[in-house]
Point group: C2
């Protein structure tokens, strides 16, 4: 375990770093074994800590899950929100939203995996809060798709169904992405964005696409 | 619990029906609570059985998971395989493959949920067998997409990436589908198939689509 210790802010920084170590170890173990199959003792062992010492930094296993899931949800929302609200045409906004989403998954693969795999194990209040943020995230896509239909850039499709199909395809990403896979991250982001967006675009002639 | 008991094949049919009841109760509880959070006692209680009596029908909780996951994997494979092997053009085959997949999810929502949510909890050999069937299923889509590209019906895309995006969107379905949702099953199947396929098709002019 790496402990960054500076004279300037001494004990505080050390405690923050320890918390980050716990966060990373929990993310990693939950993502591999699943939340329910991972014990606090497993996480402590990973960090060469006593279980009791770990509890001086976090109150419960569920608190660790919440920290992981909540940070991931925030990363998606706060990154994509300004892109959705920008003045670009809907297809460009969607391309950028999809690319930003993929970048977050790739950069935080363990947390993203835990988010999609284990958020249901949160207590009721926290689970409802995640559902609220997930709905807000879906609404961003729905709104941009509706904008694009209104502007004539996208086909006349059901924006809710289109948003769900798009997000389902994105949410499957942590399940199959491997950093040593056949695509570079930018090839993956552009190829995936292209595929997902192409189903929404009007054809070059402006007609609805034949299916 | 409903027990179908006929004079003709008496005890055998009764035992088969009991096994099906256990299968359905396990599917339902695993899908709602998750495999790890459900005990054999929970399943027995749901059926007004003693735990010991349940063990006369199934050897372990993992055997129940295997039965659910294995049947679901087989349902997808055996239904979609003949469609993929048919002589229709690739876009028609893909439309039918997607519709068949969605029909299975809708008809067996609990089993499909358990399949996607809990297959990782199988023991090594069984998990590897499911990975094998999942790869075979992905290969069906990859092959039909490659056929469609070769025939000039589909855009010149990476068949593997396209198959993964398509299957990710399909696999997300159990996570959000509700039988009381805003779409009829056939609207859902056709709308979803249309969206997913449209990203793969060549535009009406035969050009690659602009993105």
């Amino acid at each position: 375990m790496v402990v960054v210790y500076t004279e300037a802010n001494g004990q505080l920084e050390r405690s923050d770093t320890r918390k980050e170590d716990i966060f990373r170890a929990a993310s990693s173990l939950f993502s591999i074994r699943g939340y329910q199959a991972t014990s606090v003792r497993d996480i402590a062992r990973e960090l060469d800590l006593q279980g009791g010492s770990l509890y001086s930094h976090v109150a419960s296993k569920e608190d660790m899950l919440w920290e992981i899931v909540s940070r991931a949800a925030d990363a998606f929302l706060t990154t994509v929100q300004p892109i959705a609200a920008s003045r670009e045409p809907a297809p460009a906004r969607l391309t950028n939203m999809i690319a930003a989403h993929i970048e977050i998954v790739v950069a935080r693969l363990s947390q993203a995996t835990v988010f999609f795999q284990d958020w249901r194990h949160l207590g009721d209040d926290r689970r409802n809060e995640i559902i609220r943020r997930r709905d807000a995230y879906e609404a961003l896509y729905r709104q941009v798709i509706a904008d694009g239909i209104a502007a004539g850039d996208l086909r006349n499709i059901d924006p809710k169904l289109a948003a769900i199909a798009l997000l389902s395809a994105l949410n499957g990403l942590p399940g199959w992405y491997r950093s040593d896979g056949p695509w570079s991250n930018s090839d993956l982001a552009s190829g995936y964005a292209d595929l997902l967006l192409a189903g929404l675009l009007r054809g070059p002639s402006g007609d609805e696409k034949a299916t």
